[in-house]
Amino acid sequence: MGTPGEGLGRCSHALIRGVPESLAAGEGAGAGLPALDLAKAQREHGVLGGKLRQRLGLQLLELPPEESLPLGPLLGDTAVIQGDTALITRPWSPARRPEVDGVRKALQDLGLRIVEIGDENATLDGTDVLFTGREFFVGLSKWTNHRGAEIVADTFRAMAVLTDHPYASLTLPDDAAADCLFLRPGLPGVPPFLLHRGGGDLPNSQEALQKLSDVTLVPVSCSELEKAGAGLSSLCLVLSTRPHS
């Protein structure tokens, strides 16, 4: 168990999945999302991978894109990872359910304890889950239902401790700007990083973000991928292979 919050963001590996061409034409267009510049999206994805590897020093694993899975790059939706446990989700859209397979395999190979959702009635989207280091918040949405939230609670029961926390809050003008990644790569003495949407994407929120000291801000852009519904938390899965060290 340890002190809650202490190990938050501890990570050694990041997992991403390449952008298939079908992302431009596929589901996104069908869902009424704006058309997407594939080349730009792939460039953004590449830059993100580069930052994770070089700026943060993470071991980067990249799953190959699959044309049959247009939303495959949004692999944050497919698993909830905390400590040594990975809960493989059950996406709301049946079309996206095959996405979990590749992710499961990769996480298994990294030595994580894999938990599956057996319940046919549960739907869960990984990006609807927020772990604050002390407790889990699960957003009930079109993608995540109550049963799904219960399964999160069951899976991480030993981790959810303490009833009340004095969170300080930082309010950002743009909703999307809140989708940040707080990462503490294993290097000792290095302040934690906050991967956030940069000024090119969301200029209004930059000033507020600058107020955060004690974290190293790493701006990245994903305005093109955003058109497919992606955010920073859905574009990569981060984990630590030594969660307790």
Partner: protein, 880 residues
């Protein structure tokens, strides 16, 4: 101790009969059945563990005798409470009743108390038996006829509370300390551990396997001591209970862990146990069944930090105490009014449906008590007198801050006690769980469910009846208590025998010091730094709030005593208070403010007959914390003429409470039913509504709160709470910093309120507090009646034939850099014609001036209405 005298056995007979009634039988299981009778479980229990059952009793008897001999040496000790005297000796004089109290180790303690004794008498006896000094965390429960658990109010007669139920009680933890390591004595922690082990086994406190194992292993270490290879052979822990569904695997894990604790004392093991147990998310959560506005079953959990809302097993929302402005209930509805968030404009009120009126009241009481115990430095005095809106119940014990201070003075050597818990938790007792349902086991108690719905009618009338009784009991006492407060010390000895502070210490000096500290509700309770729990929870307040608040309270009280001539003491306006921007202080001040009002009322009432109080209480069974609700206030003004009638009735006929009640109760229902439809009300609501320029709000909060008002006689505020609490991404959780967000500057246009002659309209007020880097708050209450804007504060006081009430409307406007505060007060004076209303008004205005010395009275508008008789005046002070 268990010697049976005549009255004792009589009572016993009565009790033996009671379990025959189906309801009572369901309610009270094992522990309450008299020994050797009826219940098979009780029998088997005794067969199994005869020695264990008797041993502790003997032991504590010894201790008690020792206590007495010591106590006799101290003159102070014997004076404060007759409860400390051995009950048998004085039992001859009084009629006494035998109480059976199930203790935390499932043993039963029997004692006699005087039939008309208050709850405190019994509680003190039990605590003495348990050798417990830090007793404020604990309480006694009993089951009512509906097999619902109720807390025994120490300040009221036992008999009036339990009514026809048997005199069976359970000793339980009432306030789970958030930081058990701060408890002073091991023995207190031991009892807390026993409670938690019971909570775990009954499933009330769910844990994961790992936690079960960890907690179990500490329990074993505390109980069996170090692992001993010779003594502890085989599955030596299988006799003990650790989990609702105990597996062999769990027991093995526990034994593994136990082996590693060599050298750990029982006290240390218990600290470890508690340090882990306190982290459990359901630690100390008192659950109540309810439905949300959509009729979905939820649970409301009350705990040290606030109110939690669960759906199935998930917590779907959380309202910390500072976030809650007001708690109220009306019939079977329970409401909380929520402080607006950083970027939210308005307060919101959320309503829940409880199974019945009584469960709503019970929940409300639990909330009041928890809030007071954990959030306030000293308890608020109960509202007294004539014009009390709703229940007069207030928590009257010590707060956590006070009990910590008091326990810091404990200087007795650590008492010896035997950790004899095993008998409660052994497997040899049946495993069906029923054995653990003590007379008032907490978890099962709010389970009225659909059955409760059926009983709703009964419950409600029962509730009214109980209030009538309470009123009857309290009335004479109250008058005495209204006497000046300075003379307290001798008086306390007689009148507040039951106050918890008296039995605490053996050392004369300590006792005296303690008394000095605690007798006066407003004594300087310095908020010490070791109260870090509080500090930690409230990072937003740089300074500890209480030292500021406390002297202020004292001042206000002092002020009140002096200004005894004024008819009216208008409330302080809200806006200047909020200027501090400090949530906590606000909260503290709210409390102060409330107290202010109540005290004013109290003062007023000292001169009048109190006879119809209870009828009033029954009529307006609706109470608020923080500020008064418009509807309650309106109900009030409406019922005033009627009240007078009632009063004159009772003046001539004496105290006929039940009748007054019956008359009063339905009429109030009619009133409130009619109010909604009243056409003039509808008409006036529109012009009266202050309008605001929309404030730009941008938050990352995913939660949404939609409130829609339903115009129905019940005035239910329909509330829809989205399932998500708050998903603000928050890098600071680990960094531990505070952020102040710059906000877009906010300007508000305030439309000055149109005054109309209908005085019963709900009143609106809005406070805008822009300031340097302060976020503007707009407060808007959704009055169930009209849904209009805010009642910042309403205040009422009544003399024999005169009632005055003040509604304050504070508006703060920012125009290009400087701000203007506009306070509108509406003073409603209701009274008979022979009352000098002009004088009353003059006094009210004078009072208002005193209240805001820096303000200018710019306008006073007077409306006079005869016959229905209220007179309305209005004046508008403006800052120059």
């Amino acid at each position: 101790m268990t010697t049976e005298t005549g009255p004792d056995s009589e009572v016993k007979k009565a009790q033996e009969e009671t379990p025959q009634q189906p309801e009572a039988a369901a309610a009270v299981t094992t522990p309450v059945t008299p020994a050797g009778h009826g219940h098979p479980e009780a029998n088997s229990n005794e067969k199994h563990l005869p020695q264990q059952d008797t041993r502790p009793a003997e032991q504590s008897l010894d201790m008690e005798e020792k206590d007495y001999s010591e106590a006799d040496g101290l003159s102070e000790r014997t004076t404060p409470s007759k409860a400390q005297k051995s009950p048998q000796k004085i039992a001859k004089k009084y009629k006494s009743a035998v109480c059976r109290v199930t203790l935390l180790d499932a043993s039963e303690y029997e004692c006699e108390v005087e039939k008309h004794g208050r709850g405190q008498v019994l509680f003190d006896l039990v605590c003495e038996h348990l050798n417990l000094l830090e007793k404020d965390y604990f309480g006694l429960t009993f089951c009512d006829a509906d097999s619902q658990k109720n807390w025994l109010d120490p300040s009221k007669e036992i008999k009036k509370q339990i009514r026809s139920s048997p005199w069976n009680f359970a000793f339980t933890v009432k306030f789970y300390p958030p930081d058990p390591a701060q408890l002073t004595e091991d023995i207190t922690r031991y009892y807390l551990c026993l409670q938690l082990r019971a909570d775990i086994i009954t499933g009330r406190l769910p844990c994961s396997f790992v936690t079960h194992a960890l907690l179990g292993s500490y329990a074993v270490q505390a109980e069996l001591g170090d692992y001993d290879a010779e003594e502890h052979v085989g599955n030596y822990v299988s006799e003990l209970r650790f989990a609702p569904n105990q597996t062999r695997e769990l027991e093995e894990r526990i034994m593994e862990l136990h082996k590693t604790y060599r050298g750990m004392t029982p006290g240390e093991a218990e600290i470890h146990f508690l340090e882990n147990a306190k982290k459990l998310s359901m630690y100390g959560v008192d659950l109540h069944h309810a439905k949300d506005s959509e009729g979905i079953d939820i649970m409301l959990g009350v705990c040290a930090n606030g109110l939690l809302i669960y759906r199935d097993r998930l917590r779907i929302n959380r309202f910390a105490w500072p976030k809650i402005l007001k708690i109220s209930y009306k019939r079977s509805n329970f409401y909380i009014k929520i402080r607006p968030g950083e970027y939210e404009q308005f307060e919101s009120t959320i309503g829940f449906k409880l199974p019945n009126h009584r469960s709503a009241k019970r929940l409300w009481k639990v909330c009041i008590e928890h809030h007071t115990f954990f959030r306030l430095v000293s308890p608020e005095p109960p509202p007294k007198g004539f014009l009390v809106m709703g229940s007069k119940f207030r928590y009257s014990g010590r707060t956590q801050a006070q009990t910590r201070q008091a326990s810091a003075l404990i200087d007795r050597p650590a008492p010896f006690f035997e950790r004899s818990s095993s008998k409660r938790y052994t497997m040899s007792r049946s495993l069906d769980g029923a054995e653990f349902s003590r007379p008032a086991s907490v978890s099962e108690n709010h389970d009225a469910g659909p059955e409760g719905d059926k009983r709703e009618e009964d419950g409600e009338s029962g509730g009214r009846r109980s209030e009538a009784e309470e009123g009857e009991v309290r009335t004479p006492t109250k008058i005495k208590e209204l006497k000046p407060e300075q003379e307290t010390t001798p008086r306390h000895k007689q009148e507040f025998l039951d106050k918890p502070e008296d039995v605490l210490l053996k050392h004369q000096a300590s006792i005296n010091e303690l008394k000095r500290t605690l007798k006066e509700p407003n004594s300087k309770l310095i908020h010490r730094d070791r109260d870090w729990e509080r500090e930690r929870r409230l990072p937003s307040s740089p300074a500890s709030p209480s030292p500021k608040a406390t002297p202020e309270k004292a001042n206000e009280r002092a002020g009140l005593r002096e200004g005894s001539e004024e008819k009216v003491k208008p409330p302080r306006p809200r806006a200047p208070e909020s200027d501090t921007g400090d949530e906590d202080q606000d909260q503290e001040r709210d409390a102060v403010f409330l107290k202010d009002n109540h005290l004013a009322i109290e003062r007023k009432c000292s001169s009048i007959t109190v006879s119809s109080t209870s009828s009033l209480e029954a009529e307006v069974d609706f109470t608020v914390i923080g500020d008064y609700h418009g509807s309650a206030f309106e109900d009030f003004s409406r019922s005033l003429p009627e009240l007078d009638r009632d009063k004159s009735d009772s003046d001539t006929e004496g105290l006929v409470f039940s009748r007054d009640l019956n008359k009063g109760a339905p009429s109030q229902d009619d009133e409130s039913g009619g109010i909604e439809d009243s056409p003039d009300r509808g008409a006036c609501s529109t012009p009266d509504m202050p309008q605001f320029e929309p404030v730009k709000t941008e938050t990352m909060t995913v939660s949404s709160l939609a409130i829609r008002k339903k115009i129905e006689p019940e005035a239910v505020l329909q509330t829809r709470v989205s399932a998500m609490d708050n998903t603000q991404v928050d890098g600071s959780a680990s960094v531990g910093r505070e952020f102040i967000t710059t906000t877009p500057s906010i300007t508000t246009e305030t439309i000055s309120t149109t005054m109309e002659s209908s005085l019963k309209s709900g009143k609106g007020a809005a406070a805008m507090i822009p300031g340097p880097q302060t976020v503007a708050t707009e407060i808007r209450s959704l009055s169930p009646i009209i849904g209009k804007d805010v009642l910042t504060s309403t205040y009422g006081a009544t003399a024999e034939t005169l009632s005055t009430s003040t509604t304050t409307h504070v508006t703060k406007t920012v125009k290009g850099g400087f701000s203007e505060t506009r306070i509108e007060k509406r003073i409603i004076i209701t009274g008979d014609e022979d009352v000098d209303q002009d004088q009353a008004l003059a006094l009210a205005i004078k009072e208002a001036k005193l209240q805001h010395p820096d303000m200018l009275v710019t306008k006073a508008v007077v409306y006079r209405e005869t016959d229905p008789s209220p007179e309305e005046r209005d004046k508008k002070p403006q800052e120059s």
